[in-house]
């Protein structure tokens, strides 16, 4: 299913000034499109609009068209939009249902509400937990999780719905580096293996460089620039807009500024950044 935004503008209810203007964006099945940009650029608003929650659930004024699998979100009922497109909010605490006693039930909450047969619900819950590496949390109380664990559970709950389109607002913001890498791998697999179309808002540009096919720079509610993710992130102008280049780009520039680029020749910084820690370094695992 394709997510397509054409000439989209949006203003929150009770405000005159649109926070999004002239947004043209397309996410095809199996592709990851990342949105980067400074604080208050409109990234979270773009997520709400793309998932059909704004204006359907929160009001406001939409111009242009948002198409989920060819259907205007404006014409879809909320549950129809929810079946097509899953959204992960920036703050996992606002995502969890607050009605379940265990993590397992929390992840099952969505599939159950879809009215799926029990076997199917169980299968979806187990595979979502396995994909995100949280099987060990199954019996835990969802209100007693750490910030990062709650974020993984919220993401698993969305993945378990099996949507064709995923809209993710900083899915790794509270995760440790290995958790971030793990979620990145899981998202890449969802795209390549399940053909999910993923719109990803993310400040961690190393993650964007690793898994996104395309990236757009959102500034002041407009798309300022777009291109293949690695190219966009290596563009020196993104820093002016408050976007941190990936560490590999930063180090290359710092070395060049000090006249030391030669010393880095022979090291593929981007590959090193994408790779997990060298296996040899881990041979002496202590615990």
């Amino acid at each position: 299913m394709v997510l397509r935004l054409a000439g989209v503008g949006y203003a929150y209810a009770g405000t005159a000034k649109p926070v999004l203007n002239d947004i043209d964006l397309e996410v095809e099945p199996g592709r990851v499109v990342a949105v980067v940009g400074p604080n208050e650029a409109g990234k979270s608003t773009l997520c709400l609009v793309a998932a059909g929650l704004a204006p359907a659930s929160i009001g406001g004024r939409l111009t242009g068209s948002v198409l989920l699998g060819g259907a205007e979100t404006a014409t879809l009922k909320p549950f129809e939009a929810a079946q097509r497109c899953g959204i992960l909010f920036q703050n996992p605490a606002t995502q969890l249902s607050g009605t379940t006693a265990t993590v397992w039930e929390e992840i099952a909450f969505g599939p159950r509400n879809l009215g799926l047969p029990l076997d199917d619900v169980v299968g979806r819950v187990e595979s979502a937990m396995a994909a995100l590496g949280i099987a060990a949390l199954a019996d835990r109380d969802p209100t007693r999780l750490s910030g990062g664990q709650a974020q993984l559970v919220a993401l698993a709950a969305v993945v378990a719905l099996g949507p064709s389109v995923l809209v993710l607002d900083e899915p790794t913001s509270q995760l440790d580096p290995a958790g971030t890498r793990f979620v990145g791998d899981a998202l890449a697999r969802l795209a390549t293996e399940a053909g999910t179309a993923i719109l990803l808002v993310e400040h961690k540009t190393a993650l964007v460089a690793r898994i996104a096919n395309e990236a757009v720079l959102l500034v002041g509610g407009r798309i300022e620039r777009r291109g293949p993710a690695r190219d966009l992130l290596a563009d020196p102008t993104i820093e002016k807009h408050g976007v941190e280049p990936p560490p590999s780009v930063r180090i290359e520039r710092a070395a060049a500024a000090a006249g030391q680029s030669d010393r880095l020749r022979g090291i593929d910084l981007a590959a090193l950044e994408s790779a997990p820690l060298e296996a040899t370094a881990l041979a002496g695992e202590l615990s």
Partner: protein, 273 residues
């Protein structure tokens, strides 16, 4: 010359009701003016540990002392004069109808009024860059600025100890730079800063000491150069952490421990001479 211990944790364990054992006999001493980062896997007990500092949680076993006095004997309101704690989730902290009212609440409760109060609030808002939003409803701010607002509320309390739970989450490059400069200036002013973070660049650049937690205890404790050096990588990996990229590049080139861009570039240049 060693400064006084301002946070002293001895043999502390903590288990949540119906939950896991979050802390397992941890010892930690933080001295006045130290800038300490706490890192570790999600669920390793970091947030639980810092909630003991201001009395929000009480140790199941062991002892926590702030400025020499046991927290077991003290009220949260009393500890709030000594320890400011920024929550990971700003929405657990924000409640007022305007940015100014939100930041005023803490210092008002400390007894500040009139011009003295206004000055403290204005200063805190300028520090986080929200001086233009004093009349705004906090919920009209995006997540990243609500987080800066929560930080301003803590700064306005002017506590000698400032504890920040993931202060850079959701911030863009400018927001992170702002938080970094706040941490540095707090340290320069002799205040003690403890921060939890998953942002290894922030940790390596802004803190002089790093504690790595694993399973409710300390797995590593040292300078950024120590904990991000190659011999420590196996331990880091066991708690789901990775050294920042400059440390990996430095190790590859056998330049020693280079946890920051600056230390890497200096080491590269040093080899020329």
């Amino acid at each position: 010359m060693t400064a006084d211990p301002v946070i002293d944790v001895q043999g502390v364990s903590f288990t949540y009701p119906r939950g896991p054992r979050a802390l397992d006999g941890i010892d930690l001493t933080v001295r006045r003016g130290e800038r300490l980062a706490i890192v570790g896997q999600n669920g390793s007990g970091k947030s639980t540990l810092v909630r003991l500092f201001n009395g929000l949680l009480r140790p199941g076993e062991g002892r926590v002392a702030i400025n020499g006095s046991d927290v077991g004997d003290r009220h949260v309101a009393d500890l709030a004069r000594e320890v400011g704690l920024l929550f990971q989730n700003p929405d657990r902290q924000i409640f007022a109808g305007s940015v100014r009212a939100e930041v005023s609440f803490g210092p008002q409760n400390l007894g500040l009024r009139g011009e003295a109060l206004a000055a403290v609030v204005e200063q805190a808002l300028v520090t986080v860059g929200l001086e233009g939003e004093a009349a705004t409803n906090p919920y009209d701010l995006g997540y990243s600025r609500r987080k800066l607002l929560a930080l301003a509320s803590i700064l306005a309390m002017d506590t000698p100890i400032v504890v920040l739970d993931e202060p850079t989450t959701g911030q863009d490059a400018r927001g992170i730079a702002r938080v970094q400069s706040i941490v540095t200036s707090l340290g320069n002013a002799g205040r003690t800063v403890v921060a939890i973070s998953h942002d290894m660049r922030f940790v390596a650049e802004s803190f002089e000491r790093v504690v790595v937690m694993r399973g409710g205890r300390t797995a590593l404790d040292g300078s950024p150069a120590d904990v991000f050096a190659e011999p420590a990588w196996a331990t880091l990996a066991s708690t789901f952490l990775e050294p920042p990229l400059p440390a990996r590049v430095g190790a590859r080139l056998r330049l020693g421990s280079t946890p920051t861009d600056a230390s890497l570039v200096a080491a590269l240049a040093g080899e020329d001479r």
